[in-house]
Symmetry: C2
Subunit: 434 residues, 2 copies
């Protein structure tokens, strides 16, 4: 794990300006071919890609009620501890998400004028859940529950099947606990295309959310605009700000938990104490060989692991804001005050015991978070992602006539004379009642 | 103006499923070339494209304080009525947008646990304002004010210059009234690229908003992910639901005001009264020749104008929800009750006097609205577009240890053992205070 000072770090960063979206065109040919095939040939193309990429020779993309219930019951009775843990996590997620649900409003700035905002759920949402060797029941809970809390009618999951055509029963169980209305055995760009444009089996949805590999991310970018998408997720990151009141073993364990996600994950420790930096580094080296996913972790830490020494807290906060980390742990003294100064971060974990996996699995706030500096402009996934707003405007005859000239003046200035006419016709020929 | 019944309309629509984003690849080669050139060569490329596309041989992209102030003063003294109208509109917009500003929250589900959501403004925003022959001061007000109300530090405008290198003084005046912090003479895909990646003159922004032509829309799609964007705007639409309590001349004038935007604008009247449909049609024909932008209007109405006759109110509302119109006018009896049944619409205008131009210019709610059916999943532009959320999580030592086993159980089930370890290390080696 590299230790470097603030200036050195900042110099390296500004030399590699981010233009990620422009750099990923290499996948476009393949992704576009898949999207077009699913658009044109529906289920048939979707099944063919599933055979090609997932090696699963299935004949139906839908998970039957029976298959779903069997999986649910097998986990409920066979793994009661896991079942209970998922149920408890779901309850926390539901509780937090309910707090984020917005209500519309109405107000009357003067008699005869009523303005408002109406907030309504989306009709149909698709949640992409990665599959293959991994199993992510937590992703199911985190992405489905906010949609259910929002009041979305249909919340369907797509996830790639295993070669024998089955799905992980834990994922299916989480889907039921979360309240999903359907599950489909399909992954990759073909899943995104099927959700965006609909097939014989899959409903056309209004929004696609959830993490996926590079193909999924790129396909989401292509269909964006025809459907909504949550965000284009990049590799995961953690930034932990700590001082010598925090056991270095805690900091090291948290950084390494991030590193196990993938070789391109980023783990950064920020501190103002050079001696402490060395202690964290030693702990990192001590713990790596003890961990199951040692190889991935070592590669990730070597490539992207950094301990950055800042002159003081002010500089550390400036650094954190420039990184805009997905996960930020404020672990040391004064953490509560530091929260106020943080401008950009996906989720902020406060104190030495708020370890990132607590948020990943259990606490309630979403673990689907903006990566790669996009916390500068994006939010955690939430109920607000599954609702949209409509403005309402009601003017009486009298009030419209009061302001008719003002409106006509602006319309004329823009050269939109038919706009002016729509107001003028009411002014000059006002025979209807309000 | 075509009159048709509900069934005929629905049949036509389902035969042309929307896959707009996939169909606009024809522009990509040119758009990508422009984006790459601006990324690589900055101002020099931006100035070259400005000369090529806007015929303006300028040497600086920035509008100077002097140029800006001169424009402002010339309108303030030379066109006092327009100046007053823009100021009044700005005040209404500000008042409405303030109502939509969200606050964060904190709650404690049990002692030792504190969860919350922190809401902060973006740092820098770019607003694209179309230029050329047209002048859109209302777009400036509508797009800049929500960002200013959100608390964004830098709100900059880009708009293409006229061939003599100048900008419309009315646009510059609106920019000052709205509270923009800078204006740049650049349009098209080159403006989007400059805002997304920064140049010597233009700041790299966090989000790009505002309407533009096909190049602008496509460039926004390409840079999306590296920066946030508002939406990919399509042609404008109106849908007016009316009955014989509403003068047909009002309905006609409103439909025609929409039609004057462009040949591809869509104007739809919905009614349950076949005789009334004929009256509206007659009014349309009567009014068209009286309007300045007759040619555009006639083409738009011929191509996309429709009066659709429904069996009853229920069917009409179903139709409206399937269209998810950008602008919806509920003009007839029972309008207030109909609002409750509308699921998808950008802005809803209630009653015979709430004509669309009232909302376009003056009432306060935003006129930047989701087009082309995207009201199914998108909202009007608002303060919420210029703020983002961070979750906060604070667990005490005791509470983390209470739930340690639950968290470890889920982490192990996902095979993420380093995640489990980060919790375990605190359980087994809990020597720090909370």
């Amino acid at each position: 794990m590299q230790i470097l000072d603030y200036e050195t770090y900042q110099q390296n960063v500004t030399n590699t300006a981010k233009a990620t979206q422009m750099m990923q065109q290499n996948l476009d040919e393949q992704v576009l071919e898949i999207i077009r095939a699913v658009q044109e040939r529906g289920d048939e193309a979707a099944l063919a890609y599933t055979k090609k990429f997932d090696k699963a020779a299935i004949t139906s993309l839908s998970v039957s009620e029976k298959e779903w219930n069997n999986a649910f019951n097998s986990i409920k009775t066979g793994q009661p501890k896991l079942f209970k843990a998922l149920t408890a996590a779901a309850e926390n997620i539901r509780q937090y998400q309910k707090k984020t649900k917005e209500e519309g409003f109405q107000f009357s700035p003067q008699p005869g004028i009523q303005l408002g905002q109406k907030i309504t759920p989306l009709n149909r949402v698709g949640v992409y859940v990665p599959g293959g060797k991994a199993s992510y029941p937590s992703t199911v809970l985190m992405d489905v529950i906010p949609a259910v809390v929002a009041g979305v009618d249909q919340v369907v999951i797509t996830t790639p099947p295993r070669p024998d055509g089955s799905l992980d029963p834990v994922v299916l169980t989480a889907a039921k606990i979360a309240g999903a209305t359907g599950v489909y055995k399909i992954g990759g760009a073909q899943a995104v295309a099927a959700l965006a444009y609909g097939t014989e089996s899959l409903p056309k949805v209004d929004k696609i959310v959830g993490p996926g590999n590079a193909f999924v991310a790129r396909a989401k970018k292509w269909v964006f605009g025809d459907v909504a998408i949550d965000m284009i997720a990049g590799p995961s990151e953690i930034c932990a700000f700590a001082d010598n009141t925090v056991p270095p073993s805690y900091v090291a364990a948290d950084l390494l938990s991030q590193a196990e996600h993938a070789e391109d994950a980023t783990s950064i420790c920020v501190t103002t104490d050079a001696d402490y930096a060395e202690e964290v580094q030693k702990e990192i080296e001590r713990q790596i060989p003890l961990l199951e996913r040692e190889e991935i972790i070592r590669e990730s830490i070597q490539a992207n692991g950094k301990i950055i020494i800042c002159d003081d807290e002010e500089q550390a906060i400036e650094l954190i804001n420039s990184i805009a980390p997905e996960h930020l742990q404020l672990m040391g003294e004064g953490a509560e005050e530091q929260v106020q100064k943080v401008k950009h971060a996906g989720a902020i974990f406060i104190g030495p015991y708020s370890s990132e996996p607590l948020g990943d699995y259990f606490a309630g706030p979403n673990h689907t978070l903006p990566t790669n500096g996009t916390a500068r402009f994006s939010s955690p996934l939430g109920v607000y992602d599954f609702m949209k707003k409509s403005s309402t405007i009601h003017y009486s005859k009298e009030r419209l006539l009061d302001y008719a000239d003002t409106i006509i003046t602006i319309a004329d200035a823009e050269g939109l004379t038919a706009h002016a006419n729509a107001i003028r016709i009411r002014k000059e020929n006002n025979y209807a009642s309000s």
